[in-house]
């Protein structure tokens, strides 16, 4: 059980991809106008992250490393993520067109989302994972769980930001500050707040 909780704490709080490591900022800023679309984006990214870890970890461990083809790592990972995003795009287009329109260009951009590829790269880095979670051996289960909770961490931070933004957009702001700049300022204060996790992590 210990590792389960440490995964949750590490993935959601201490090593939160968006707010501590500042990866995946494009959708974090782009889609967080409304909480509904932010939640939709969060779920889509979590789904992609989980399935990516499920596929890329064994792919790397049992096929690429034994055959010495490490240099293919980036190409294969990005291909897997892109295929998953294409499937998710078709699914979202069918089941919730308003969410599909709200995400717009940011849906295909999940592929180049630094967080998703970041998880895939982090999970296969055994030494890093072991020191992070304080476990002795790495297996697919841990990888998938970490992917899942990294997605949850992403969703949590994007939903918090969308709640913040809905409040912010009602303020009387100079017109130039409306939209992205004020979101960046909010993210700046959020970053200062989360700086403390750097110390623990």
């Amino acid at each position: 059980m210990g590792t389960f909780f440490s995964i949750i704490v590490m993935a959601v709080l201490v090593n939160n991809f968006v707010v501590v490591q500042f990866l995946g900022i494009c959708p974090f800023l782009g889609v967080s106008k409304k909480t509904s679309s932010a939640l939709g984006m969060g779920v889509a990214v979590t789904l992609v992250m989980t399935i990516t870890c499920l596929i890329t970890y064994p792919l790397y461990e049992y096929i690429l490393v034994p055959l010495g083809l490490e240099y293919l790592e980036i190409i294969v990972f990005i291909f897997v993520i892109a295929a998953l995003v294409q499937m998710i795009e078709r699914a979202i287009r069918k089941f919730s067109p308003p969410l599909y329109r709200a995400m717009g260009i940011y849906l295909p951009l999940i592929t180049t989302n630094c967080a998703v590829l970041g998880v895939a790269e982090l999970v296969i880095d055994k030494a890093q994972m072991m020191s992070l979670l304080g476990i002795t051996s790495m297996n697919v289960g841990v990888a998938v769980l970490y992917g899942l909770f990294a997605g949850v961490g992403f969703t949590v931070s994007i939903v918090i930001m969308s709640g913040l933004r809905e409040k912010i957009d009602r303020l009387k702001l100079p017109k130039a500050l409306k939209g992205f700049p004020i979101t960046m300022l909010a993210a700046c204060f959020m970053a200062m707040g989360f700086y403390v996790f750097n110390m623990i992590g």
Binding site: Y71, L72, I75, F79, Q128, S131, N198, G201
Partner: protein, 197 residues
Amino acid sequence: MTVRQFLKSEAFKCIVVLLAIALVAGGLLAILNDLLAVSAEERTMRAIESVYGQQMEYETLEYDAADLTNEYGSIDQAYLLENGAYMLRSTGGDGYKNGTVTMWVILSPAGDGSLGIYKVVMQEYAKQTLMAQFGESFYAVYTAHNSELADGEIWFSVDASGIQNTQAGATMSSRAINNAVNCALYFARNVLQGGEA
């Protein structure tokens, strides 16, 4: 859905196109990777050239794993150069976000037989985002203290316990670099010189 229809259908076109692009990309990469592979020898030769400005013969030194790692970090490769200098590729740990720093440390025998640091070259660094902060002045400190190093048991450190060398705003990365250099020094003293220092 006869086979003929399937062959003409949109689905088949997708599979063929994706397969074709993947094969061309994969094939190109595989071939290029073998063609453009940079061998370990070439990397070492480049390191020598970057330090001494000209190519030089070298001899690879082999050590068992126990000697290669110590409390500061680990030595990846050790070479003895033509002019008697040692070239060590050492990795120092617990930098920013427990990333590592890998450096070439070149130790040249000083007059009295002890090994002074001739030059320190940054090789690679993982997750140390503030590397741009480290100017020439930071690296020059390592080569300036050879006399104190000669009488042994003095290491580089971030605080004042040893020879202080830190960069404001990037103390964790400085610690990793200090560890890399200390690891090379420790290896040089205990293993290269038979541990009498």
